[in-house]
Amino acid sequence: MTPATGVGRPGFAWAAPAAVFFGLFALVPLLLVVVLSFTRWNGLGSPEFAGLENWSKLLDDPVMVKSLWLSLVLTVLGVVVQTPISILLGVWAAGHQRNRAVLSAIYFVPLLLSITAVSVLWRAVLDPNFGVPSQATWLFGDGNLFGVQASALGVLVFVSTWQFTPLHTLLYQGAARAVPQVLYQAAQIDGAGRVRQFFHITLPQLRNTVVTSTILMVVGGLTTFDTVLILTQGGPGTDTTNSAYYMYQKAFKSFDFGTASAIALLLVLVASLVSLVMVRLSGYDKMRSTMEGV
């Protein structure tokens, strides 16, 4: 018994304004990026057609390859570090105890700061001579955090974690509260301990949230830019120059808009590939309610 098609259903016109707006400010620029990637242009005068020059230069550019690799490293590290912390904190905060509510409120504070503010703050806190490292040499040594690749990447991952963990914690907190209590009661009757309950009930029930949270982390990770610009400027050398920052550098420091556009396209390709895979895996694109099958 299907309802008559068309009756009481919204037409395409409902989607049109949003589609046009989005097309104008996101898709048209994207098309222009494609065009620009085949041109030579320094922002003065008009772009000259350059064929595949930018692309062939990029393929030979060790910094480009390195920057893609660094984007990947930053993304993977971000997911690997943030996910366990957020799940644990989220499940913990889902409890209704008073002290948990108070602490959760404090945990939330980093999210009130903009990424810019957070980066500026950590740059000051981590100053080798006048920041925290000078007070804790047993931990930080000479405090050369920004002068060595491993620690510079570490700082970038840590700062993102510091800022975005509250968001992901909230996601998990909400999801954990939605886990039906009967499952836990049943497990307790079976004599399952806390750890078993966590792994056998809580985690499986959080599956969908893991997907959502991971998508957000991956998209955020691939496009990390503000923190790089403010904390490391891609240094030391090119050791933290991820693709997003490399693209910015090519465009607005070296004024090579053609190459910058080619990098931008590569970035879009990688990001859409990743999100396509994840959307497939999660079944987001299926017209299916999460209520179905319950």
Partner: protein, 272 residues
């Protein structure tokens, strides 16, 4: 069955409290010291000669104007998103044509377009439209780039409205307008508050668009104020941190008075 306290979790939560709290502590104490005192005291020292000068100087330096600009941008972005995305999501969920589905795929693709990728042509377009160094030039692209996630959230919520409810109204001969206003919107409240929070945060945190598309101090948003502070006042760490504190005050205010809605909205980002 009585629960025994979870010591391990308690310990872990205190460790995280330290991680979150330490930089906030450093930030706060630094802002109440003069530069000389901060350099001599170290980051952990407590101010001996308590001063509010850092805050006063920042406010005199134009931060009040930056606030106002940021608020304008945020409100406008949220407004555009609220106007455009709910009908879109409704069409995606309920339309029987193929077109809406295609549009949805386009928006899913949009999830993967980082704003950096289009910044060069965006600059060009905004400049051609005469919107360079104009808040509207920041508002429009920011809103466009907030839309994919908002569309994702809202379609998720609207799909959870059971088809029985739709059919009940359709049988009564309700138009799609009436269904939208009387059924879909009321039942999507949670998703809508999530969308508001998400797009507001996007606007509030916006960095790259204002960085490239604005220049004068009349059109500066807070993030730019902070970023520029470093180059204009080089050595003034306490002043800089005071600006950071100022930049978070409005949101802190919202947080204190509307904590529940904000938190609920953010929880909603995850869906179920």
């Amino acid at each position: 069955m009585r629960k025994r306290p979870n010591y391990l979790a308690g310990f872990g939560s205190l460790v995280w409290l330290f991680v979150v709290g330490l930089p906030l502590y450093v930030m706060l104490v630094a802002t109440f010291q003069t530069r000389t005192e901060y350099a001599a005291n170290g980051p952990l020292g407590f101010p001996e000669n308590f001063t509010l000068d850092n805050y006063v100087n920042d406010l005199n330096d134009g931060f009040a104007q930056y606030f106002l600009n940021t608020v304008v941008v945020t409100v406008a972005v949220v407004g555009i998103v609220l106007l455009l995305v709910p009908p879109l999501a409704y069409a995606i969920v309920r339309s029987d044509g193929k077109a809406a589905g295609r549009v949805f795929r386009l928006f899913l693709l949009g999830l993967a377009i980082p704003s950096q990728a289009v910044i060069v042509p965006m600059f060009y377009l905004i400049n051609e439209a005469g919107l360079y160094d104009n808040l509207l030039g920041v508002i429009l692209p920011t809103a466009a780039f907030a839309m994919p996630v908002c569309a994702l959230i809202l379609t998720g919520v609207m799909r959870d409205i059971t088809s029985e409810l739709y059919e009940a109204m359709t049988v009564d001969g309700a138009s799609s307008w009436r269904i939208f206003l009387q059924l879909v919107l009321p039942l999507s409240k949670g998703g809508l508050s999530t969308v508001v929070v998400f797009s507001a945060l996007q606007a509030w945190n916006g960095f790259l668009f204002p960085l490239v598309l604005t220049q004068s101090s009349e059109n500066k948003v807070i993030t730019m104020g902070l970023y520029d502070f470093q180059t204009e006042h080089g050595v003034d760490i306490p002043g800089l941190l005071a600006a950071v504190v100022l930049s978070m005050l409005p949101i802190l205010f919202v947080y204190l008075f509307a904590r529940r809605a904000l938190v609920q909205g953010l929880m909603g980002v995850g869906g179920k």
